[in-house]
């Protein structure tokens, strides 16, 4: 009977109910899409930094790795430490080129695992590093720069010769330019410097010892394990907070929509509530009815929103320019959290109307019949 009463009330004002469902749905979709995209971007950037390694070493107290300065000599010294299998310096830079406002440059050594792991679509790893002016382009960068092996491409204020193109699943790498480390140092005027060192240990068990040795020997640097880095890097935190804030605002608006619907729903059927009271419905039963309506709206909105969000992510993923930036697979935890937030929003929106309905006295509504 509860379900029948709820369905009756919602179907009585179909447009109003649908608008409320749509409000929650679009909020949920926006939240899911924004957070998934940003989490995907953060994940990709994080993978980019910690590529095939467990530790990243960078300058302490910098807000952005692009401003981090780590001497390359530190990478050479660390590589000699007994617990270290490999230490690779990488220098990050961002430039413009033609109509492309942002191209990420990676100054890496020839033996960098990024180059080894990628699928080379033209050229080969051996061709990288022998020519200081030779760069390797990510597949998407090659496409938007319309460049192929042997050609010269403008990168910022200079020209480089393309010695290879490669394909990776990472959007930043796929849309980036790999330069020999020395060329990058020269280009970005950071002689003998890198932005970070990615370190692969022989055993992850040595991580604590490695980090404390870095702290002792290089007090200006900090070493973080990949998970620590993803969690604590300020840029990531800002991005994540922004995503949740944007999504939260969306849900707040959706919740206000639900509240408005429920208030209207209660106000327009005071008499009906009075009848229910007169035939024996308790205050709690009336409250449950209002809550049930709100939860129904929110649940329908959440389901529709998750579907719309998934669809939007799939469409975004299909756009070539966003290849590698959009992770179209929202994490189950995120789906659960967003759905739970939508339901909570619906419940919160029903609180005032619920208490109002519970206070309706049968006689007030029936006296003037």
């Amino acid at each position: 009977m509860y379900l029948r009463l709820i369905a009756t009330n919602l179907s009585r004002h179909r447009v109003r109910s649908l608008l409320s469902v749509a409000g929650i749905a679009f909020s949920v979709a926006a939240m899911l899409a924004v957070i998934t995209i940003l989490q995907g971007a953060v994940g990709m950037f994080s993978n980019l930094l910690t590529n095939d390694s467990q530790i990243i070493v960078f300058e302490k107290d910098v807000s952005d790795l692009f401003f981090s300065n780590v001497p390359v000599r530190a990478a050479v010294e660390m590589a000699a430490w007994p617990q270290v299998e490999r230490a690779n310096p990488v220098l990050f830079g961002v430039v413009t080129s033609g109509s492309q406002p942002v191209i990420t440059c990676f100054g890496v050594e020839a033996n960098d695992p990024r180059l080894r792991k990628a699928t080379w679509t033209s050229g080969n790893p051996a061709s990288f590093g022998s020519d200081e002016n030779g760069v390797v382009l990510g597949q998407r960068a090659a496409a938007f720069l319309a460049a192929s092996v042997g050609e010269s491409v403008p990168i910022g204020h200079a020209h480089f010769r393309v010695v290879g193109t490669l394909k990776t699943s990472n959007g930043f790498e796929d849309g980036g330019v790999f330069m020999p480390l020395k060329a990058a140092q020269k280009y970005f005027r950071k002689e003998q410097m890198s932005s970070a060192i990615t370190v692969k240990l022989k055993s992850r068990d040595d991580a604590a010892e490695f980090k404390s040795r870095v702290a002792r020997q290089y007090p200006e640097l900090i070493a973080l394990e990949d998970e620590e880095f993803s969690r604590s890097y300020s840029q990531f935190r800002i991005l994540k907070a922004t995503a949740w804030a944007v999504g939260g605002c969306g849900l707040l608006l959706g919740g206000l929509g639900v509240a408005n619907t429920m208030i209207m729903s209660v106000f327009t059927r005071i008499r009906e509530i009075a009848i229910l009271r007169a035939v024996g419905f308790s205050r709690t039963q009336i409250g449950r009815l209002v809550l049930g309506e709100s939860v129904t709206i929110s649940a329908l909105g959440a389901v529709a929103g998750l579907l719309i969000g998934e669809l939007a992510l799939s469409l975004l993923k299909a756009i070539p320019a966003l290849h590698g930036y959009v992770d179209a697979s929202p994490k189950p935890v995120l789906i659960a959290v967003v759905a739970a937030l939508a339901l909570l929003t619906g419940l919160a929106g029903a609180i005032y109307p619920m208490f109002y309905a519970m206070r309706v006295r049968a006689v007030e509504a029936l006296r003037f019949e």
């Binding site: 009977m1 029948r4 009463l5 009756t8 179907s11 009585r12 008499r271 009906e272 009848i275 229910l276 009271r277 007169a278 035939v279 024996g280 419905f281 308790s282 205050r283 039963q285 006295r361 049968a362 006689v363 029936l366 006296r367 019949e369």
Partner: protein
């Protein structure tokens, strides 16, 4: 649900009002001014009087829908001062029939009638059987699945009677049950009300200004200016 009527086994009146006062707008509009009334189990009592004399207010108070400003109200010997005391009464002991049927228009006849059973948490199957019994008696079986909008005025009021009797209340309070019907339909509904009250042994307190119908009740109670002037039994 069993066939047990929810009536008092105590010898005293099932409905009792002692020096009951009620006013609106903070007492500026006095409606009841010291009403005393006792209704015995199984009695059929007509509450007559001009509009505004306080008939409906008294029914609402006795039915637990409102609070008096002063005085004592008892149903089946129990005071009905609190929500906790009133809710079981509304669910089991008292049935209400209003002048305007007060049914929920978007629900079917069956769904409307099942509302009290649902509120009281009664077994669905038993409630449906009870409804079928009442619908048969009121000639509404063929209309069970129809929405209220599709019913005539008489059918709606008969539906309201079915709803009021769903949980086998011992007391039926009817507030101008024929007031919105034409003379012929009103008489039919009234006869039905009296018949069911007799068959089910229900105590009936009915507010009406139709003296011809009121004369069929075992007792007629006159109200004037918020007070009761009880006459002799009407034959």
């Amino acid at each position: 649900m069993n066939d047990t009527r929810h009536t008092s086994t105590l010898p005293g009146p099932v409905l009792l009002a002692e020096d009951v006062w009620k006013g609106y707008d903070g007492g500026e509009v006095p409606v009841l001014t010291g009403v005393n009334l006792a209704v015995a189990a199984g009695e059929t009592v007509a509450l007559c009087g001009p509009s505004g004399c306080g008939k409906s207010t008294l029914l609402h108070l006795l039915g637990g829908l409102d609070d008096p400003d002063r005085g004592v109200l008892r149903v089946n010997g129990k005071r009905i001062d609190s929500e906790n005391a009133r809710l079981p009464l509304l669910r089991h002991a008292i049935g209400f029939v209003f002048q305007l049927h007060n049914l929920i228009p978007d629900l079917t006849l069956e769904e409307n009638c099942l509302l009290p059973a649902f509120a009281a948490g009664l077994d669905k199957q038993v409630a449906r059987e009870r409804l079928r019994e009442l619908a048969t008696r009121t000639g509404l079986v063929h209309r069970l699945g129809h929405r209220i909008q599709k019913l005539s005025g008489g059918e709606r009021q008969r539906t309201a009677i079915c709803r009021a009797l769903m949980n086998r209340p011992g007391i039926l309070l009817a507030d101008e049950p024929t007031g919105s019907l034409d003379e012929k339909t009103g008489a039919q509904v009234f006869d039905l009300l009296m018949e069911i009250a007799a068959v089910e042994g229900t105590t009936l307190l009915m507010a009406t200004h139709d003296r011809r119908l009121a004369s069929h009740c075992a007792r007629l109670v006159e109200m004037h200016g918020g007070r009761i002037d009880e006459s002799d039994r009407v034959e």
